[in-house]
């Protein structure tokens, strides 16, 4: 059952209860009203009838007294008065009969025993009144007959009896009035009882209706607020950031649909939170990268600024050195002209030096020739020494062979052994002498070689010196020429340097512009870095926020 149906059913039940209660109350009120109406109506009718009886009796009495009076005046009663009295007596009798009938009828349909009793008493009272009337009427009739017959004295004497009967009738009528009053009182009490019972039943019905309403309301409330509390706590958890759970589905009614919807919502929120977290993390990473790149850019701008500064300083140096170059060039020009004069002097000196070199070379060549002849002689001596050495070697071997033969000869070879020993000694001496000669020859040869080498080296040096002298001469000539050329060149350098100055001034202006642009770039980079820092801070805050949600 859906919630609306339940609520509607609850309200319907309560409404039905209220309607039932109202109908019952109306019905009870109607009963009360009808009872009260009946009681009042009957009592009022009884009072009217009693009054009618009293009035009729009074008119009857009046008519009788009138007839008596007329009769006393006229001496006889008038038939009209008697007829009048007869009519009125009939009216009184009719009223009495009506009263009795009414009492009997009301007694049968009275609402309670008290009323029945009262109507019975009223009926009895009416009968007593009837009895009194039954005694009064004939008495009154006899009186009237007497009057009619002209018996006034008898009529007057009958008056006392009639008065007695009339008093009894009045007393009975008074009792009937009393009974009617009591009947009214009983009727009032009966009305009160009916009202009390009706009120009690209405109250009981009201209490029952309230109880049923409370039960129905409690049931509906529980069936609605229970799931609603669950949903509220679930929503509270979602509000705190716990997106990991889901709520219980209570049924197919609106609350069940609400539960399904909440679960769907949580799934959606979870997805959104995940995406938000991913996006925020990406944002954080991107912000960090931007920050890093802005910082790099700031660093590079700073480097650029520094480089511009260095370039400006270098340009200043270049300007300064350009001025110095001009100065030096002019000095060089002056020096070159002095050098031209000096080169003439140098040429003369070189020429003299060349001539001296030639003379030295010729002498060195003569010395070399002598040394070569000496070397050849030494070579010859070496060959002789080799021959002597060979002889000494052979002598050595011969001596050894002699020793061998002497050893083989035994005792007979002793003198030969001495000869062999002396021969070996001579051979050793010759060998030693040849060794010394060879060593001395070696020294001589080395000395000759050294001299030859020195001489050759001297010749080479002389030749080299001659070459250098020629080179110097040609160099001096060339130098003079170059100096002259350099004068022109340096003059051109001076002109170029002046032009360079102009270019450097332009470069300086351009550098200043670059410096300004770099400073602006640096400022904008700082702002960018600041913005990147703010972005990073924001992304960190977002990360912190998304961290709240547990998925």
């Amino acid at each position: 059952m859906s919630v609306s149906t339940r609520i509607v059913a609850g309200f319907g039940i309560i409404t039905a209860i209220l309607v039932a209660l109202g109908l019952y109350s109306l019905q009870q009120v109607g009963v009360v009203r009808s009872n009260v109406d009946r009681i009042v109506q009957r009592d009022y009718a009884a009072i009217l009838e009693v009054d009618e009886i009293a009035r009729a009796e009074a008119r009857m009495r009046e008519a009788r007294l009138m007839a008596v009076m007329h009769a006393m005046r006229s001496g006889r009663g008038a038939p009209s008065d008697i007829a009048d009295w007869q009519a009125r007596a009939n009216g009184t009798a009719a009223a009495l009969a009506k009263l009795t009938a009414t009492a009997e009828k009301n007694r049968e349909t009275a609402i309670n025993q008290g009323r029945i009793e009262q109507w019975r008493q009223l009926s009895e009272g009416a009968q007593a009144v009837q009895a009194s009337f039954d005694r009064l009427r004939p008495a009154s009739a006899r009186q009237l007959e007497m009057l009619e017959s002209g018996n006034i004295d008898g009529a007057v004497e009958a008056g006392e009896e009639i008065d007695r009967h009339h008093a009894a009738l009045a007393q009975s009528l008074a009792q009937v009035r009393t009974i009617v009053s009591n009947t009214i009182e009983v009727g009032r009490r009966a009305t009160q009882d009916v009202y009390e019972s009706t009120r009690t039943s209405i109250l009981i019905g009201l209490l029952i209706a309230i109880a049923i309403s409370v039960v129905v309301a409690f049931t509906i409330r529980r069936s609605i607020t229970g799931p609603l509390n669950d949903f509220m706590s679930f929503a509270g958890r979602i509000g705190e950031g716990d997106l990991s759970g889901e709520t219980r589905i209570t049924g197919a009614d609106e609350l069940g649909q609400l539960g399904v919807t909440l679960n769907t919502m949580v799934v959606g929120l979870r997805e959104i939170a995940r995406q938000s977290r991913a996006a925020t993390e990406d944002l954080n990473a991107a912000a960090t990268e931007i920050r890093a790149s802005t910082q790099e850019q700031a660093a590079s701008v700073e480097e650029q600024l520094a480089a511009v500064q260095e370039t400006a300083a270098t340009v200043d140096e270049i300007t300064h050195s350009g001025a110095q170059i001009t100065l030096r060039a002019q000095e060089v020009i002056a020096a070159a002209q002095a050098t031209a004069q000096t080169s003439d002097t140098g040429r003369t000196a070189v020429h003299d030096t060349a001539r001296a070199m030639d003379a030295i070379r010729e002498q060195a060549e003569a010395v070399a020739g002598n040394i070569v002849a000496l070397s050849e002689k030494t070579q010859t001596i070496g060959d002789i020494i080799a021959t002597v050495n060979d002889v000494s070697e052979r002598s050595h071997l011969l001596a050894l062979n002699a020793s061998i033969e002497a050893a083989a000869a035994g005792e007979q070879g002793r003198s030969f052994a001495i000869v062999a020993a002396e021969m070996k000694t001579l051979a050793d001496q010759a060998k030693s002498a040849t060794r010394n000669v060879r060593s001395i020859l070696g020294d001589i040869q080395r000395g000759i070689n050294a001299s030859v080498m020195l001489t050759e080296e001297a010749v080479k040096r002389v030749a080299s010196g001659k070459e250098r002298t020629d080179a110097s001469q040609s160099a001096i000539n060339e130098l003079a020429t170059r100096v002259q050329e350099n004068v022109h060149t340096f003059q051109q350098i001076v002109a170029s340097t002046n032009q360079q100055q102009i270019g450097i001034e332009q470069v300086t202006i351009a550098l200043q512009n670059i410096r300004q642009a770099s400073q602006q770039t640096a400022a904008s980079t700082r702002q960018l870095d600041q913005a990147a820092g703010d972005l990073t801070q924001l992304s960190r805050t977002l990360v912190g926020l998304t961290e709240r949600y547990r998925v």
Partner: protein
């Protein structure tokens, strides 16, 4: 060995070493023989093979000479250097370094020792022939060693080669008879 008070002798064309050797020899010749030393002396010939010095008894030698032209023999043992035509005969020239288990000298020897061996005729290639000397030699020990140490008169220790054993080892393979 020079001592304080020695006269310095100089001779033309002789260096100090040669002069000292001549004087030492004359000193030995003129000195009386040592009475205590009555041991028998053997005359040996000292020679060198590379840096190593050896000696051979003179009795085992026939002749010493410079090495003439050598004719190599294909398929010969490693110790055989080649054949030499000497005084009308054919000599087998050996390199004793193999038998003495020495490394081959950097330069081949220029002198040879002709042994007293009838057949085959054997000569040893040596680096140089130094001199003849007298040593106290107790003879071969009888073992399988090719060399034995002896003391010369000048105190020098020499390695004397056992000629017979050397020949025996060199002739381990058939040779040319000459």
């Amino acid at each position: 060995m020079s001592m304080p008070g020695d006269l310095r002798v100089a001779a033309p064309f002789l260096d100090a070493e040669a002069v000292a050797a001549v004087l030492a020899e004359r000193q030995r010749a003129l000195a009386p023989p040592e009475a205590a030393d009555q041991r028998a002396r053997t005359r040996v010939l000292t020679w060198t093979l590379g840096d190593e010095a050896y000696a051979t008894p003179l009795a085992d030698l026939f002749e010493v000479a410079a090495i003439p032209r050598v004719t190599a023999v294909p398929g010969a043992p490693a110790a055989l250097v080649g054949l030499i035509a000497w005084r009308g005969a054919v000599l087998n020239l050996f390199d004793p370094a193999v038998a003495l288990r020495l490394a081959a000298p950097e330069e081949p020897g220029r002198a040879m020792l002709v042994l007293r061996h009838a057949a085959p005729r054997i000569a040893l290639q040596v680096s140089a022939i130094t001199a003849a000397a007298a040593v106290v030699d107790r003879g071969a020990t009888g073992g399988d060693t090719l060399t034995r140490f002896v003391e010369a008169d000048d105190g020098q220790r020499l390695a004397v080669v056992d000629t017979a054993l050397l020949i025996q080892r060199l002739l381990a393979r058939p040779l040319q008879e000459g």
